[in-house]
C-alpha cells in the first residue's frame, strides 16, 4: 500500500509480523534491558485460523530509586505486637539482618493489539517489591521530567486505567485513539521510512515505541530507530 494513502493502522496479522521483527531487533540491539517476549493467548472462536492472538510482554523491569533515610516510618502498616510470634520463637543468628534503604519500582509493559482501533496499545503497571501496585498519581510523580511534558503537551498521549483485555484486571494504558494519526504523520514525514515500496510493517513497532516510550519513561535506545536493514 502506498504510504500517502495509508491511514496509520495495522492489520492483526501485520501486528504479529511487526511484533516478531521488533523482539528480534530489541534483543540484538539491547542486551542490557530484559527482552520482550510474545505471549500467545487462546484463540477466540471468531478469528480466522491463520491469525494468532497474543501480545508482547516485558515484565519485571526494575528501576532503583535513590535511597531514602527512615522512609515510611509513619506509613508502617502493621501494628507493633511484641509477642506476636510467641515465647518459644527460636532466636537465630544465622539470619542476615538487612537494612531497608533501597526502594525498587517494578514495571510491567504489555503491547496489545486493539482490533477496534487497529493499532498497538501500551498497557503498563508499576508496583513495589512486595507487590503493592502504585497509583497513577505516584507513577506520574516519578516519571522523568520530559515524560510529563510529553504527556501534558502532546494531545496524542493520554493515560487511563482500563481493564486489560486478557488479564481482567485494571492496568494503565496509553489511550490509542490518536495513534493512527501520528503514526501516519511519522511515516509521512520521515523519508527513510518506507517510500515507494509501501508501508514497512517491521518498522512500525520500533517507531511507535519511540513515541509511547517517552510518555511512560521507557527508555528506548536510539539504535532501535535505525532504519537500515541489518
Amino acid at each position: 500500500m502506498d504510504i500517502s494513502s495509508w491511514d496509520g493502522t495495522l492489520s492483526s496479522s501485520d501486528f504479529c509480523l511487526a511484533a516478531h521483527a521488533f523482539t528480534e531487533k530489541w534483543k540484538r540491539i539491547n542486551p542490557v534491558l530484559p527482552p520482550w517476549s510474545w505471549v500467545p493467548r487462546p484463540k477466540s472462536p471468531w478469528l480466522a485460523s491463520h491469525e494468532v492472538e497474543g501480545y508482547l510482554s516485558l515484565e519485571n523491569m526494575c528501576i532503583l530509586r535513590s535511597c531514602e533515610e527512615d522512609h515510611d516510618e509513619k506509613s508502617h502498616k502493621g501494628n507493633e505486637e511484641p509477642n506476636c510470634l510467641g515465647k518459644d520463637e527460636y532466636i537465630d543468628n544465622a539470619t542476615l539482618v538487612q537494612s531497608y534503604r533501597q526502594d525498587v519500582r517494578y514495571f510491567d509493559f504489555h503491547i496489545v493489539y486493539s482490533a477496534s482501533y487497529r493499532v498497538p496499545v501500551l498497557y503498563f503497571r508499576t508496583y513495589s517489591s512486595d507487590g503493592q501496585p502504585l497509583l497513577l498519581e505516584d507513577i506520574e510523580k516519578e516519571l522523568p521530567g520530559n515524560s510529563t511534558n510529553v504527556l501534558m503537551e502532546s494531545k496524542w498521549t493520554f493515560i487511563t486505567q482500563e481493564e486489560h483485555p486478557y488479564l481482567n484486571r485494571p492496568w494503565y494504558k496509553l489511550h490509542p485513539c490518536g495513534t493512527s494519526e501520528w503514526m501516519k504523520l511519522l511515516f509521512l514525514t520521515d523519508p527513510s521510512l518506507g517510500g515507494s515500496q509501501g508501508v514497512p510493517v517491521e518498522l512500525y513497532l520500533s517507531s511507535w515505541i519511540s513515541m509511547v516510550g517517552q510518555a511512560v519513561g521507557l527508555k528506548v535506545p536510539l539504535e532501535m530507530f535505525n532504519k537500515r536493514k541489518e
Binding site: E81, Y90, S129
Partner: protein, 711 residues
C-alpha cells in the same frame, strides 16, 4: 578478594515475598464463589528464579496461577507450566482466616513447625532428592477483607536451624574460585541446564567437575552415582539473593539435607546467579561451609528448631495491602465514567468544563417521563448531584415510559416516585448523590381550605429552600399551573431554569430568561448578590419587550388555572407519543449544558439555527437557543426567541416585586384567587383590549401548543 574469616557464622539473606495483585483478585473470587466461610488450608504454588540483577534480589512471587483453578475455569486458565526457567515452582500452604481476630489468633509457631516437619520428613524419606523444590516449601497466613478490599498477610520461609550454626570457611565470586577452564565449563553446563525444559526449573543440583576441568550438572538423586566418579563435587542452587557476601535462604535447608542424608560436614556450595539469561560467574558465589552440629541432631525423630517469619521493614509484623482502587466496583465505575467524559473533552471539545458539571446541583421538579430521562441524561454528562421532587407513586403503566422504574416499584400500592427514582439512579451509578423529595407543588387556581393552609405554606417554604440551594431547576411536571410557583421563585432567585412540556405529538423545551431586577451582563456580578437593588431602578433590560428572555408563562394571556378538573377522563389521563419525552428530555439537558458553557450564562441571548449571525459568535457546543419547539408529526424542530412580557403572571417585575414585598401572603393569595394575578399584572386590562394586543413572536404558533400537558 578475600573471603570471610573462617569461624564466622554463615549468615543467609532472608527470602523476600512479592505478591502480584492478581493473586489477591483470585483469592477474593475464590472466597466469594467457592470457599465461602471454609477456612481449611489451601495448597498454593510460589515462583522464583535465580538472581539476575547485581543490585536487586529476586523474590518468591505469588501470582494468580498460584491458587488452584476453580473447576469452571479449568479449561481457560493455563496450568502451571513446568520447565519455565523464570518460574521455578515451590509448594506452599495458605491459611486464610475469616476474621481479623482469627488471623491474629493463629498459632503461628505451630503452623511454622508443621511445615518444618514436612521438610524434615521429605529430607529423610528421600523425597527431597526426587523433587528438590520441596526444600523451599513456604507458609502464608492471610485475612482477606472483602468489604474494604484490604489483605493482611504474613509469609514464613521455614528454615531448619543447625545447632550450633554452620560457619563460613570461605566465600568468593565463582569466577575467582574456578580455574579458567573450569569456569567456562561450569558456565556452559549451567546454561544447558537452564535452557532445557526438563531441568530449567530444578533449583538444587550437583556440580561435578572432572580432573580435566569438564563440568556436568546432575540431579540430587544422582548423588550415589557421583560418589563413584570421584570427581570434585559442589552443591549448587538457584540463589535469589544478589549480595556479594551472603548466600540466599534456600541454602539453609539444602545444608540440612546434605548433612542429614549424606553426612557431609564440609560443604562446597555454588550460589548460582545470572545476568541477561546466562550464568554469571562474577555475580555467582562459591563458598565453603563447616557444619558442626552433633550426630544426634541428624536423628530423624527430632525435628530441629525452625525460623522463617518474614520481617516487614525490619519488624516482626504482618503486612497489609489495600486494593480498593483496583477492585472496588464503585471506584472502577467512577473512573470509567470520568474517562468517558475526559475523552470527550480531549478528543472533541477541549473547552468542556467537567468541573462545573460535576459540582452543580440540579433540581428536577417531576419524576415522570421527563424527570426520569432528564436525570439519566444529566448523569451521562457527569452531573452527580440530583434532587427529584414528586408527590406521586409509581403506577403500573409507568415503567414503560418512565425509564427509572421497574415492575417492583409498582407493587404494594407503588413506591413514592421521588424515592424509587433515587434508588434507581444509585443502582445505575453508585457515586451519584441523589435525593428524593416527596412533596406536592402548590398551584394557583387550586384553592386551599384553611386547615391546610399551614401545610401549603410549609411546602412553599420548602420549595423556596430547594430552589435557593440548587444551581439549575428543571420544570418537568404534568400541569401548567404547577410550573407557576417554581417559575416565580426561580425568577426571584435568578436560577437557570429549563422547562420541558409535551403535547400529543409536539414538545416545547425552553430556558427561562434571567430574573427581572437583575441587570445586564455588565453588572452581572452585582446582580448575582444583590437583592438590595432599589426597586425603582429598573435597568435597560426591563422596558417593555426588553431584552430579557421570556419564561414559560410570558406568552400567556390567561393566568394559569385549574386545568385538570372539568375534563373528561381521556383528557385527564394525558397521552403523548412515546418518542417525545426522550427527545424533549435530551434537548433539555443539552440546553443546560449549553448555558453552562456560554460566557454569559443565564444572560445569554437566544440564537436561532440558520441565523446569519451564528458564524461569528458560535460557541464550541454550537448555538444556544431560547426555545425549541418540535413536532413528531413533521419530524421537524425549530428554534424561537421570545422576550419577556411585562404582563407575565410569573416573572414580570410587578409580580416578583410583589412577592419580595409580601412573600408567602402573596403566594397564598395567588393560589386562592386565580384572577388576582391577572388583575395585578394588568392582564385583565389587556384582555379588554385584546384585539390591539400584539404578541412578540417570530413564528405563528398554535394556541394549543401552549396548552401543553405531559404524562
Amino acid at each position: 578478594m578475600a573471603g570471610q574469616e573462617s569461624g564466622a557464622v554463615l549468615q543467609f539473606a532472608p527470602f523476600q515475598s512479592s505478591v502480584d495483585e492478581g493473586f489477591w483478585h483470585r483469592l477474593s473470587s475464590l472466597k466469594l464463589n467457592k470457599l465461602g466461610i471454609d477456612d481449611s488450608p489451601i495448597s498454593i504454588t510460589g515462583f522464583y528464579a535465580p538472581c539476575s540483577h547485581s543490585q536487586v534480589s529476586n523474590h518468591l512471587t505469588l501470582l494468580a496461577e498460584s491458587l488452584p483453578p476453580e473447576p469452571s475455569e479449568q479449561s481457560s486458565t493455563p496450568p502451571i507450566s513446568r520447565g519455565n526457567r523464570n518460574r521455578c515452582s515451590v509448594p506452599g500452604i495458605l491459611y486464610n482466616t475469616n476474621t481479623l481476630e482469627s488471623f491474629h489468633a493463629l498459632d503461628k509457631q505451630s503452623l511454622l513447625k508443621a511445615e518444618a516437619e514436612k521438610i524434615w520428613n521429605d529430607i529423610h524419606s528421600g523425597k527431597a532428592e526426587e523433587d528438590c523444590s520441596v526444600l523451599s516449601r513456604f507458609l502464608l497466613i492471610s485475612f482477606a477483607d472483602l468489604k474494604k478490599w484490604s489483605f493482611h498477610y504474613w509469609f514464613a520461609f521455614p528454615a531448619l536451624v543447625l545447632d550450633p550454626p554452620a560457619t563460613l570457611v570461605d566465600l568468593k565470586p565463582a569466577s575467582q574460585w574456578f580455574s579458567l577452564e573450569e569456569a567456562e565449563s561450569v558456565s556452559a553446563a549451567c546454561n544447558e541446564w537452564r535452557n532445557s525444559s526438563s531441568t530449567a526449573d530444578v533449583p538444587f543440583f550437583l556440580v561435578s567437575i572432572a580432573s580435566n576441568s569438564r563440568a556436568t550438572i546432575r540431579h540430587l538423586k544422582d548423588w550415589e552415582a557421583c560418589q563413584e566418579d570421584g570427581h570434585k563435587l559442589l552443591f549448587g542452587f538457584y540463589d535469589p539473593c544478589h549480595l556479594p557476601k551472603n548466600p540466599g535462604w534456600p541454602l539453609r535447608n539444602f545444608l540440612v539435607l546434605i548433612y542429614s542424608r549424606w553426612n557431609i560436614k564440609k560443604v562446597q556450595f555454588l550460589c548460582y546467579r545470572e545476568n541477561r539469561g546466562f550464568a554469571d560467574l562474577g555475580l555467582s558465589l562459591v563458598g565453603e561451609a563447616q557444619i558442626s552440629a552433633p550426630q544426634e541432631w541428624r536423628d530423624e525423630l527430632h525435628v530441629p528448631n525452625v525460623v522463617g517469619w518474614e520481617l516487614n521493614r525490619g519488624k516482626k509484623v504482618y503486612r497489609c495491602i489495600g486494593l480498593a482502587k483496583s477492585m472496588d466496583p464503585t471506584r472502577l465505575a467512577i473512573s470509567a465514567a470520568d474517562l468517558n467524559l475526559k475523552l470527550m473533552r480531549w478528543r472533541a471539545l477541549p473547552s468542556l468544563n467537567l468541573n462545573i458539571l460535576s459540582t452543580m446541583k440540579c433540581l428536577l421538579l417531576g419524576a415522570g417521563t421527563l424527570g426520569c430521562q432528564v436525570a439519566r441524561m444529566l448523569m451521562a454528562w457527569g452531573v452527580r448531584k440530583i434532587t427529584l421532587l414528586d408527590n406521586g407513586k409509581v403506577a403500573m403503566s409507568n415503567p414503560l415510559r418512565q425509564s427509572l422504574y421497574t415492575l417492583d416499584d409498582c407493587l404494594n400500592g407503588g413506591e413514592f416516585k421521588a424515592l424509587a427514582a433515587v434508588n434507581s439512579l444509585k443502582r445505575i451509578f453508585p457515586a451519584v448523590e441523589a435525593e428524593g423529595v416527596v412533596m406536592a407543588i402548590p398551584m394557583p387556581g387550586h384553592p386551599v381550605p384553611s386547615q391546610e393552609e399551614e401545610s401549603v405554606l410549609d411546602d412553599c417554604r420548602r420549595l423556596c429552600e430547594l430552589i435557593e440551594s440548587h444551581d439549575a431547576v428543571f420544570l418537568l411536571t404534568d400541569t401548567r399551573e404547577s410550573r407557576w410557583l417554581p417559575t416565580l421563585l426561580c425568577a426571584h432567585a435568578n436560577k437557570m431554569t429549563i422547562t420541558a412540556a409535551l403535547g400529543f405529538d409536539s414538545f416545547l423545551v425552553m430556558r427561562h430568561g434571567a430574573g427581572p431586577l437583575s441587570s445586564t451582563i455588565d453588572n452581572r456580578a452585582e446582580a448575582m448578590n444583590a437583592l438590595s437593588a432599589d426597586m425603582s431602578k429598573f435597568s435597560l433590560t426591563d422596558s417593555d419587550g426588553g431584552q430579557r428572555l421570556g419564561c414559560y408563562f410570558c406568552n400567556d394571556v390567561v393566568a394559569p388555572v385549574d386545568s385538570t378538573s372539568n375534563r373528561t377522563l381521556d383528557q385527564q389521563c394525558t397521552v403523548t407519543r412515546p418518542g417525545l419525552a426522550p427527545i424533549a428530555s435530551a434537548l433539555a439537558v443539552e440546553l443546560l449544558v449549553g448555558i453552562l458553557h456560554h460566557p454569559h450564562g443565564i444572560f445569554a441571548e437566544g440564537e436561532n439555527a440558520n441565523s446569519s449571525s451564528n458564524g461569528i459568535n458560535e460557541q464550541p457546543l454550537g448555538i444556544l437557543p431560547h426555545q425549541i419547539r418540535g413536532s413528531l408529526a413533521q419530524f421537524s424542530q425549530m428554534t424561537l426567541v421570545g422576550h419577556s412580557s411585562n404582563s407575565c403572571t410569573a416573572c414580570c417585575d410587578t409580580v416578583v416585586s410583589e412577592y419580595r414585598k409580601r412573600g408567602l401572603d402573596f403566594i397564598l393569595q395567588a393560589i386562592n384567587h386565580p384572577t388576582y394575578l391577572e388583575d395585578l399584572t394588568g392582564l385583565t386590562e389587556l384582555m379588554k383590549s385584546a384585539s390591539s394586543f400584539k404578541l412578540d413572536w417570530d413564528n405563528d404558533t398554535d394556541a394549543d401548543d401552549d396548552d401543553c400537558v405531559e404524562i
